[in-house]
């Protein structure tokens, strides 16, 4: 067959189509112009989303990826365009989000000359990306793009950077579609070890007080059903990490709540009471473990992970089960016995009762006073039938919405866990409306984080993205203020913030909005937000100095949560 002779930029289009890409987030510029010129002829093939800042493009691609399970794609120019995406690359790496960034680069003949808008993108991104590669000739495009998508989506997913020299975009190539699905130095799906499977099952069968810790790995593997079968067969209580919240429906009887610094009391305290700890697709982040030297020392640890470098990284694993949990969970489940663990499971309820009294009721059903963050989150969740996608920014808004939102469907929580990126929420929510157009997308932000990428109101306006934005405004950088109150003698350094008129900003972008400061109006305002077609900004004036509780203070053990 005669190969077609096309330009490099067009070869990129064909390669993206071969990867079933349907949406591209981006921002044009000098050294990527041939690619944007090619995109002009592919308006039917890709939804093309012009953001207002490249950081927004990367976060939008992350939101798209996490809501759809597909690879998010982002195209930007060289130099500042590329460096503006770095926060998103680092975020995607820590949270295992499959994205491919295609950035323009100067012509290969002038590399290293400090050319206009030249930056060593491969050098800069290598430590924070799963793979970085420079395309210097058009012949390389089909192979590099296919390899990029293969690496981004397989194994433990992550961000891939393609640094695309301008001469490779413009020169002609005899294009041949390529499919990379094997790299000899890369083992994305390690084969499960039968011995480890048998040992894990035996340990669980003998356990009197087992506890399962569920992370995002379950969602990334689409192993939600396999997880359910696993825990139900042997009556295993579950704690979920921040990123694993929707791996199991919130109302599942074996769900004991959220892990971590601001998680629920039961699963945190019982981490140090269990006899067998079974971690599934989670990485024992310091936010989960608290003081690691006192963490679950009494327990035998079984660690299921697809990434061998996670084993023994933070917490020693007595039985590592390396592999894809979609594969390993059923293998263990098959060997499990149905053991009644009622007494152990009931012990979580005692802690839940304490937390209900001391933290939950004051947060979601306060006796008067200003509106609390938690009650807004719970009411929005219930108004969507607990079926919405929750996107959050970072800080108190994140912890409160994750604590009080409820989940019934997989892939329903999109939040910046590892990097803790303020400004993540709004663009990620825009991306989620493209990744899961059939679902309601609610994004909770604080007044600090919203302003970090507020320019993306422009993208919402232009794309008509139906983002339901809930701004929890306490006139503070709330999480830092809470730490200043608790650990820095109430010295509120740089945390009180003079806010603009958010309704006016929304109006300037043609986004309907409403401000609520009276609890009596809250339900009606939420209803208005959800019934309004398209985007809506619900601006809620919340209690100024509310603290997220309970909390494992920094340096404290996982079972030492405080309520004030």
């Amino acid at each position: 067959m005669e190969k077609e002779i096309i330009r490099g930029a067009e070869a990129l289009m064909r390669s993206l189509m071969n990867e079933q890409v349907d949406t591209i987030f981006g921002y044009p510029g000098g050294s990527i112009m041939p690619v944007f010129d090619a995109l002009y002829d592919h308006k039917e093939d890709f939804k093309q989303v012009l953001v207002r800042h490249e950081q927004g493009a990367l976060h939008a691609a992350q939101g798209y990826a996490r809501s759809s399970g597909k690879v998010g794609v982002c195209i930007v120019t060289s130099g500042p365009g590329a460096t503006n995406t770095l926060t998103g690359i680092a975020d995607a790496m820590l949270d295992s989000t499959p994205v491919v960034l295609i950035a323009g680069q100067v012509m290969s003949s002038v590399l290293g000359t400090d050319f206009f808008q030249e930056v060593d993108l491969v050098g800069v991104t290598q430590p924070i990306a799963k793979w970085s590669y420079q395309i210097r000739s058009a012949e390389d495009i089909a192979w590099a793009v296919s390899r990029a998508f293969y690496i981004a989506r397989t194994g433990r997913p992550g961000p891939v950077v393609l640094d695309f020299c301008k001469n490779a975009q413009t020169s002609k190539v005899a294009f041949e579609p390529t499919k990379v699905d094997f790299i000899r130095s890369y083992v994305p799906y390690p084969k499960p070890d039968e011995k480890a499977i048998a040992e894990a099952a035996e340990l669980i069968n003998r356990a009197a007080r087992p506890l399962v810790l569920v992370g995002q790995g379950v969602e990334l593997a689409n192993a939600n059903e396999e997880l359910k079968n696993f825990i139900e067969k042997a009556n295993l209580p579950v704690g979920r990490t921040l990123l694993g919240l929707s791996a199991l429906p919130s109302d599942h009887p074996l769900n004991m709540g959220m892990l971590g610094m601001h998680g629920n009391l039961g699963p945190n305290v019982n981490t140090n009471n269990c006899d067998v700890l079974i971690a599934v697709g989670m990485r024992f982040s310091d936010r989960v473990t608290g003081l690691v030297s006192t963490y679950a020392k009494q327990a035998k640890v079984i660690h299921l992970d697809i990434d061998p470098s996670e084993i023994n990284k933070n917490v020693h694993a007595d039985i590592p089960v390396i592999g894809d949990c979609k594969e390993t969970l059923p293998l263990i489940t098959a060997l499990l016995e149905n053991v009644d663990r009622k007494e152990w499971i009931d012990s979580f309820a005692d802690y839940a009762a304490i937390e209900e009294e001391k933290a939950i009721r004051p947060a979601i059903s306060p006796n008067g006073g200003p509106i609390r963050m938690g009650e807004v989150a719970r009411r929005v969740s219930e108004a969507t039938g607990n079926s919405a996608i929750l996107v959050t920014d970072v800080g108190q808004n994140q912890m409160m919405s994750c604590r009080y939102f409820k989940f019934t469907k997989p892939h329903s929580v999109i939040t910046s866990g590892g990097l803790g990126t303020m400004g993540f929420g709004l663009p990620a929510a825009i991306g989620a409306t493209f990744g899961a157009p059939e679902r309601t997308v609610c994004v909770f932000s604080g007044d600090g984080g919203l302003q970090m990428n507020i320019q993306e109101f422009g993208t919402i306006m232009e794309q008509g993205s139906p983002v339901k934005m809930i701004l929890l405004n306490n006139n503070y950088l709330g999480n830092v203020r809470q730490w200043q109150e608790m650990f820095f003698n109430r010295r509120y350094s740089w945390t009180p913030m003079l806010n603009p008129d958010y309704n006016k900003i929304a109006e300037a972008y043609n986004i309907p909005s409403r401000t609520v400061s009276d609890r009596a109006e809250l339900d009606d305002a939420i209803k208005e937000m959800l019934e309004t077609k398209g985007a809506f900004l619900l601006h809620v004036a919340v209690m100024e100095e509310e603290n997220i509780m309970p909390m494992t203070p920094p340096g404290a053990s996982v079972n030492e949560m405080v309520f004030e």
């Binding site: 290598q126 430590p127 799963k130 094997f182 000899r184 130095s185």
Partner: protein, 183 residues
């Protein structure tokens, strides 16, 4: 935990920028590389890095896994000195007039089993292969005689005590498996 000298042997595809990926794992922990040797391996297209550095075993264990995780790295293992054979090579440039005026200098060369590579009117080029201590001893002896003009020492090269390089087998097996899959 006590820091020990470890030798890290890394095999990777021969791709530009790979060293940066390997050293990034040291940089982020501010670990200082003691010696570094990079060259082609016995397998075509595969490069071999021999890196020595002082570290706690817990750390080097994690670092090796992180390096092996890089897409184009085939394998990364760490060893203590007992688990490997190792050598370094050094070149010493000696002043010819000083050597002729000082009989001690040629004795030093013989006693240390060093080799003379080149002699001319102005300098003598001496080579020594051996362990770090042997090379440094020779260096100190030349310095004591005030005859040393230039000195350079290589990084360590090391070979494991295993019978062969199991790596080539591993790679070829992968390729064979691949052909069998026929996707």
């Amino acid at each position: 935990m006590e820091k020990k000298l470890f030798t890290l042997i890394v095999y990777s595809e021969n791709i530009a920028g790979l060293l940066n990926q390997v050293t990034a794992e040291f940089t982020r922990r501010q670990m200082n590389i003691e010696t570094l040797n990079v060259s082609s391996s016995s397998i075509e297209g595969v490069h071999r890095y021999t890196i020595t550095l002082w570290a706690e075993e817990e750390t080097i264990k994690k670092v090796a896994k992180r390096i092996e995780k890089r897409i184009d790295v085939v394998k990364a293992d760490y060893y203590t000195d007992k688990e490997i054979f190792m050598q370094e090579v050094a070149l010493y440039k000696i002043s010819t007039p000083k050597m002729l005026n000082n009989k001690q200098v040629s004795k030093i060369i013989r006693h240390n089993n060093a080799r003379v590579l080149e002699i001319n009117a102005s300098y003598v080029l001496v080579e020594k292969t051996g362990k770090t201590e042997e090379i440094v001893t020779l260096y100190k002896e030349f310095v004591a005689e005030q005859c040393l003009l230039q000195y350079v020492k290589s990084g360590r090269v090391a070979i494991t005590r295993d019978y062969n390089e199991d790596l080539s087998e591993q790679l070829f097996n992968e390729d064979a498996k691949r052909k069998g899959i026929n996707r």
